[in-house]
Symmetry: C2
Subunit: 194 residues, 2 copies
DNA sequence: TCCATTTCGCTACGCGAGTAGCGTAACAGA
DNA sequence: TCTGTTACGCTACTCGCGTAGCGAAATGGA
């Protein structure tokens, strides 16, 4: 049996590239599959043959530009944690990003087969943050019986919670208190106060 | 100048009641404004004259049945916190509720004028949780120099974070460790270990 | 009674998501 | 070259959100 017409391998790349641009230009709200298809020089049906829904395409596009943001490590665990939390808070402070993040979360809830892909998006950044703890342990900056995951959950979770759910402000003072409390709760000695 | 035709005051009540039913039956996904209007015996345009979007109506409907769930206070701060966190985790474990919560969050991000209303939904439950701390202080169970809001953020935030964003499991063991860490971070004496 | 005003119901429309079906193009193998 | 198979483009469709415009109903005031 013959192999049939081969898939145009350029389609994935072109469509995702256009999708990324459209996300940058108009955000999630103005992201229209028809327009993506047009600008990519592809039929809408062809798009839907690879990504079963608009959200699938959005997730695929976001996955390609989430790696751009790097985390700076200074070696000072507490300071690094504050910086990471501040970066997240700053991002969620922008309406466009807040909308995109919210929609990505909702996308995972709307379509179960997308959940894993969405979790994967945050997992990368979380893994990078966890590295900070390993480095801190290596430098004897802290004991190794603490649970880095738990500490991160408390810090990052609180930031997302306030920014997305309660709407409370997330300023620098709050972040310092938050990180201090989370570290103290895990028994990490207070390297340096506020 | 004459007063014009008076508004049918029964419309608000009837429409919200039907909306609540439809949410219970089919969740957020199957919630259609047309059907709500039909079942309420009202024209779709009339619905849109009061609630400018589907999300506005959903928020109005959710606001009427969120008060049903009460929080049980036993007087044991730690146990109560674990129970509250477990209740939230259990709720978010249900696909329908997880979707609804996600969509409500996204609704606030989509339409700025809805954000305040959505925050208000969670604010009531948060206020009830904060009361636990006041009671605990009254009973001398803890010092009064702790920041209840910060502790709640760490606990509730972590639960939402794991359930909605990272997708990590939220089991009982995790919750106990979480509450213990949050309380310890605030300097609350460990009333009882795991 | 006549008029201005406001609400209501209805029809029709535009838009974007997602689907179905058809003809055609691009292959592999006989 | 002929056949089977798969991908592509295109048209047309359904569905739900949200809007525009019209005539009728329900009021208060002249």
């Amino acid at each position: 049996m013959g192999g049939g017409r081969p898939r145009d391998t350029g389609v994935e790349e072109r469509v995702v590239a256009v999708a990324r641009e459209m996300l940058r230009e108009g955000g999630y709200a103005r992201f229209a599959v028809d327009q993506v298809a047009d600008r990519a020089g592809v039929a809408k049906t062809t798009v839907y043959r690879r990504w079963p829904s608009r959200d699938h395409l959005v997730v695929a596009a976001v996955a390609t530009f989430l790696d751009d943001v790097a985390i700076e490590e200074t070696g000072d665990l507490r300071a690094d944690l504050v910086r990471i939390a501040a970066a997240i808070a700053a991002g969620l402070g922008q309406p466009g990003i807040r909308l995109l993040v919210s929609e990505l979360i909702a996308a995972g809830a709307r379509q179960p087969d997308l959940a894993a892909s969405v979790y994967q998006l945050w997992a990368r950044r979380r893994a990078a943050s966890l590295d900070l703890f390993a480095a801190a342990v290596g430098q004897g900056e802290q004991a190794d019986d603490v649970d880095p995951g738990l500490i991160l959950d408390q810090i990052i979770g609180a930031v997302y919670y306030r920014a997305l759910i309660t709407g409370d402000p997330v300023d620098d003072d709050y972040l310092k208190r938050l990180v201090s409390a989370a570290l103290a709760g895990a028994g990490v000695s207070s390297g340096g106060l506020a």
